[in-house]
């Protein structure tokens, strides 16, 4: 072999040796870290003993150095040395505990735009707001219905008999993270600001939730008491108050004339705007996407005495997709992976002893919409016929591998007002389908043909797979011919607004956890089914029932009213429920305190490891 080749081989060998050395060093470092972590518990025990010794020493010193030897049986020099050792060990313990006090969370999410409650309207933006912000009331963790409210910045509340005036007594002694004392003026300011900014932010949450339509005015009754005057009786109001868009802001950091907390705004990383369990200590974005978010425990949090937040620090790591996130939790790069791990991966990870999969309820639903203003779906018989041919079980079992449930009401399981109304039509009930379509003039020789649209850019999970199941189920009736069409999310929304899609699958995640925020989907104008104009009588009946349900706190009555709305929806079939999701999170085995309830909120201040 020539000299140069020899040199190349030598270079390659050197490269291998250097790489191996580096990797070996990394392994040693990693191993040392884990050893350090495991030593923490042992060291903690030692601390107890040593603390006791210190107490003895303090007593002894008070009595004079001459007694020290008598008490401890050691010379003064020996004791000084012991104290130095103790200090070193304490420093090691602190370092070890710091590692135990940080939770690293992997996610594919990113704050869409802002952490200002007057504008934020995305899942992850709301998630961060929930950790750093306080609301007047909050949903009890683990609540099966989402209707169990706990005092938060308000200690109690009551409504007038007409449910249009709500009084709240506020918690006293609460401070914002910067030490500003919280009082009723902050509540009034927060809601006045959210409503004042609605005209300039039509895409913001307060506009989406209709704050300006619901809230007439907010009144300060005294330092720790506020009154909300509503425009109409509204029993789900506590749900609104628990929403992230009702986060109480500190006026000093949230000017009424402008949106705050956008990236690039120096105040974005100012951890003093809110009164939640954590403060935002780092928020770094690259090219409009989060690359670093760090939360530190709020030293002024009102519930510190109860031991919250459990972890001192939360660090979010941002992955580009579900596959990368799965690899990260498997590799141990993160303590926890939440949202957007695919069903296949979740079920696969259940067998991995190095991780733990947590299961819970979900609030996300999907439904089939029909364009009712033109043929073929301007004929109610055709809509009902197609609805009867749906195959929800195959969707749930084959597409979502059992991680979603068939849905027969627009209100998800567990929530007040949930029914099984659409079971009346059945699944793959081709007898009914063929009969109704025959009445409408369709048969094997003259099939019902229509386009079924689905979203293709990942906004909804497993959309293409679902669409294939729908097509197969519909065409198995023998009297339908379905063409699948897709569009990315931006185009899909535009197609929806331009009303060019015959039938399309849409999804919903609630703004506040109450049937009030689901039932209206049957006729929501922004879904553009034109139901309100094509079925005015049914719409009027449903709207009246909906208003009646808003105007009562009687849960039995509300259940009956929502059931009646469902019954009318089954007759009309403009919007047909398909499935409701389940919630899941993946953690390392030593992570505790995960509550996956119908709110789909991740309350990081309850998590420990």
């Amino acid at each position: 072999m020539e000299r140069m080749e020899t040199a190349i081989v030598a270079l390659v060998l050197i490269g291998i040796i250097v790489s191996s050395g580096t990797m070996y060093y990394t392994t040693i470092v990693t191993s040392d870290l884990s050893t350090l972590t495991s030593d923490v518990s042992t060291l903690t025990e030692s601390v107890t003993e040593l603390t006791s010794t210190i107490a003895d020493l303090a007593t002894a010193m008070a009595e004079g150095f001459e007694d020290i030897e008598e008490v401890t049986g050691a010379s003064f020099e020996e004791l000084t040395g012991a104290i130095a050792t103790l200090e070193a060990r304490l420093a090691a313990i602190e370092a070890g505990l710091a590692a135990r006090e940080t939770l690293i969370v992997g996610t594919t999410d990113s704050v869409e735009l802002t952490l200002d409650p007057a504008q934020a309207y995305d899942y992850f933006g709301w998630c961060i707001l929930q950790q750093i912000g306080g609301t007047l009331v909050s949903v009890k963790p683990g609540s099966p219905t989402g209707a169990d409210f706990l005092p938060d910045l308000a200690v109690d509340w009551n409504a007038s008999e007409e449910l249009d005036i709500w009084d709240l007594n506020l918690r006293q002694g609460v401070m914002f993270a910067d030490g500003t004392e919280f009082n009723a003026t902050h509540v009034k300011y927060s809601f006045d600001r959210a409503i004042a900014l609605i005209p300039s932010i039509p895409e913001g949450a307060p506009a989406g939730l209709g704050y300006d339509a619901i809230i007439n005015r907010t009144e300060v009754l005294d330092t720790y008491k506020v009154r909300f005057h509503l425009n109409f009786p509204f029993s789900p109001f506590p749900g609104i108050l628990a929403s992230r868009s009702s986060t109480i802001v500190n006026p000093q950091y949230a000017p009424i004339e402008q949106i705050n907390h956008t990236a690039g705004d120096t105040r974005a990383s100012t951890p003093v705007a809110f009164a939640g369990p954590y403060v935002l200590s780092e928020w770094r974005r690259v090219a409009g996407r989060d690359v670093e978010i760090k939360l530190d425990a709020n030293p002024n949090y009102w519930d510190l005495a109860s031991g919250y937040p459990k972890m001192e620090h939360i660090i979010f790591r941002f992955y580009s997709d579900a596959a990368s996130l799965r690899l990260a939790i498997e590799a141990g790069d993160v303590d926890m992976a939440y949202r957007h791990v695919s069903p296949t991966d979740v079920l696969d990870l259940e067998d991995n002893p190095n991780v733990r999969v947590w299961w819970g309820a979900g609030a996300a639903i999907q439904y089939l919409c029909f364009q009712t203003k033109r043929a073929p779906f301007n004929d109610t018989r055709v809509r009902v016929a197609v609805a009867a041919a749906l195959d929800r079980n195959t969707i749930a079992e084959t597409v979502f591998l059992g991680l979603s449930d068939p849905l027969y009401s627009i209100i998800p399981p567990g929530m007040l007002g949930h029914t099984e109304a659409f079971k009346k039509l059945g699944d793959t009930n081709y007898t009914l389908t063929r009969s109704l379509l025959a009445d409408a003039g369709y048969d094997e020789s003259n099939k019902l043909t229509f386009d079924l649209w689905y979203e293709s850019s990942g906004h909804y999970p497993m959309s293409a797979e679902q669409a294939l199941v729908h097509k197969a189920a519909f065409e198995a009736s023998g009297v339908m011919d379905v063409t699948l069409k897709s569009a990315d999310w931006a185009s899909y929304k535009q197609n929806r607004d331009n009303e060019i899609m015959d039938a399309y699958v849409y999804g919903w995640y609630p703004d506040y956890v109450d049937p009030d925020n689901y039932a209206f989907l049957y006729w929501a104008a922004w879904i553009h089914t034109n139901y309100q104009t094509t079925s005015p009588e049914a719409y009027a009946q449903q709207q009246a029932l909906y208003d009646a349900a808003r105007a009562t706190t009687n849960t039995t009555l509300r259940e009956e009213l929502y059931a009646q709305i469902d019954d009318i929806a089954v007759e009309q079939c403009s919007v047909v429920p398909i499935w409701a999701g389940t919630g899941y999170a993946i953690t390392k085995p030593d992570v505790y305190g995960i509550y996956l309830d119908i709110t789909q909120d991740m309350r990081y201040w309850l998590i420990s490891k």
């Binding site: 190349i8 869409e112 735009l113 039509p202 690359v291 790069d333 922004w526």
Partner: protein, 345 residues
């Protein structure tokens, strides 16, 4: 033509190329279906709100005015000096300056591109030369096979294999991200973490940044090395047969001097040209690599913006990619002229 005249001519020729690129990007963005203002709103806004948004984004102006604004923004030196990046308009989704977003993502892509190109060149050229020297031997076949496999395997497949081996099973290297969030980035000077941490004399951060960079750059570098191996081998085989190589050997020069000092230098020109072309491919590959390794660079940014149909951002990213490739082509042409005086004739 002297080298200086050639460089000036080449730079002047770059201007119409860039103008054509900018015009095409602008026009393509405008003829795409969909009203970006309408797309912005989740639930339909009122016509007044839509108009206000249109005005805010400058979309109420006639097309020619938008075009001149766009071009003026790119050459607005005052803006450039004030912000440190050109005026590429505002994102239609986040309303942040697109120039600022792109320049915050660009260093990550540049760092990945530099290290990948370095890996690809070293592996490609060394193996290519070795292969040509061992013509038709087992080693030659082995290297050619290696080149074909690395060229053919998709980036995300190779990336995931590396993630599984070094991240999940061995746990030696992180499966993604540019830096462990527990480690603060070094003070920004170049934006390249490895360089900045060296400037800051911080070996821990350099080690962390290198650890994160190793898998993505190795993935991209290996994929690109396949083409370099084949190109180097072919050119070297032709050059080694030429008379001047035989003459050099006959004069008793050392084998390594003949191979690397004479033959490779002559065979290097086509490889250099290909390096310039490969840079465009490298940027395309960076999009996939960045997605696979959750690398917060320009490629991932572009994919994100496409999902949101953020026209100004896509336009800015394409312009940036175009400028980058044009600049690299210019440098390659100048180097080519330097190495081969015939080009200047």
């Amino acid at each position: 033509m002297g080298l200086r005249s050639y460089i000036i001519t080449r730079i002047l020729l770059t201007i119409p190329t860039l103008l054509l690129l900018l015009s095409m990007v602008f026009l393509v963005m405008r003829v795409l279906p969909g009203d970006p203002v309408e797309l912005h709103f989740e639930k339909k806004a009122t016509p007044e709100q839509m108009e206000a948004m249109r005005r805010a984004l400058g979309l109420d102006k006639p097309l020619w005015a938008q075009y001149t604004d766009y071009l003026w923004g790119l050459v607005d030196v005052g803006y450039l000096l004030e912000h440190g990046y050109p005026n590429l308009g505002k994102s239609m989704q986040t309303f942040e300056e697109v120039g600022g977003q792109i320049f915050s993502a660009f260093p990550a892509t540049l760092e990945l591109a530099i290290y990948s190109m370095l890996i690809a060149s070293i592996i490609g050229i060394l193996l290519g030369v070795t292969s040509s020297k061992s013509y038709n031997s087992f080693l030659d076949h082995l290297i050619r096979g290696f080149g074909t496999v690395t060229y053919a395997v998709p980036i995300f497949v190779l990336g995931m294999i590396f993630q599984l081996i070094f991240g999940v099973y061995l746990r030696w290297l992180p499966t993604g991200l540019r830096l462990d969030p527990a480690v603060n980035p070094p003070p920004t000077i170049t934006g390249l973490y490895t360089i900045d941490s060296l400037i800051a004399a911080n070996p821990v951060k350099f080690f962390e940044a290198s650890k994160a960079l190793l898998l993505p750059s190795l993935t991209l570098g290996l994929i690109l090395s396949g083409m370099f191996i084949r190109m180097t081998r072919t050119n070297m085989l032709e050059t080694l047969r030429l008379d001047f190589v035989t003459a050099a050997k006959a004069r008793g020069l050392k084998e390594s001097t003949v191979t690397y000092g004479y033959a490779l230098r002559n065979a290097f020109l086509p490889i250099l040209t290909m390096m310039g072309l490969q840079f465009a491919i490298l940027l395309g590959g960076a999009i996939l690599t960045e997605t696979t390794f959750s690398w917060p660079g320009l490629g991932r940014y572009t994919v994100d913006r496409i999902t949101f149909r953020d026209y100004t951002a896509i336009q800015g990213a394409v312009v940036m990619f175009g400028l980058f490739v044009t600049l690299v082509s210019l440098i390659v042409d100048i180097l080519y002229a330097y190495f081969d005086p015939r080009i200047r004739l």
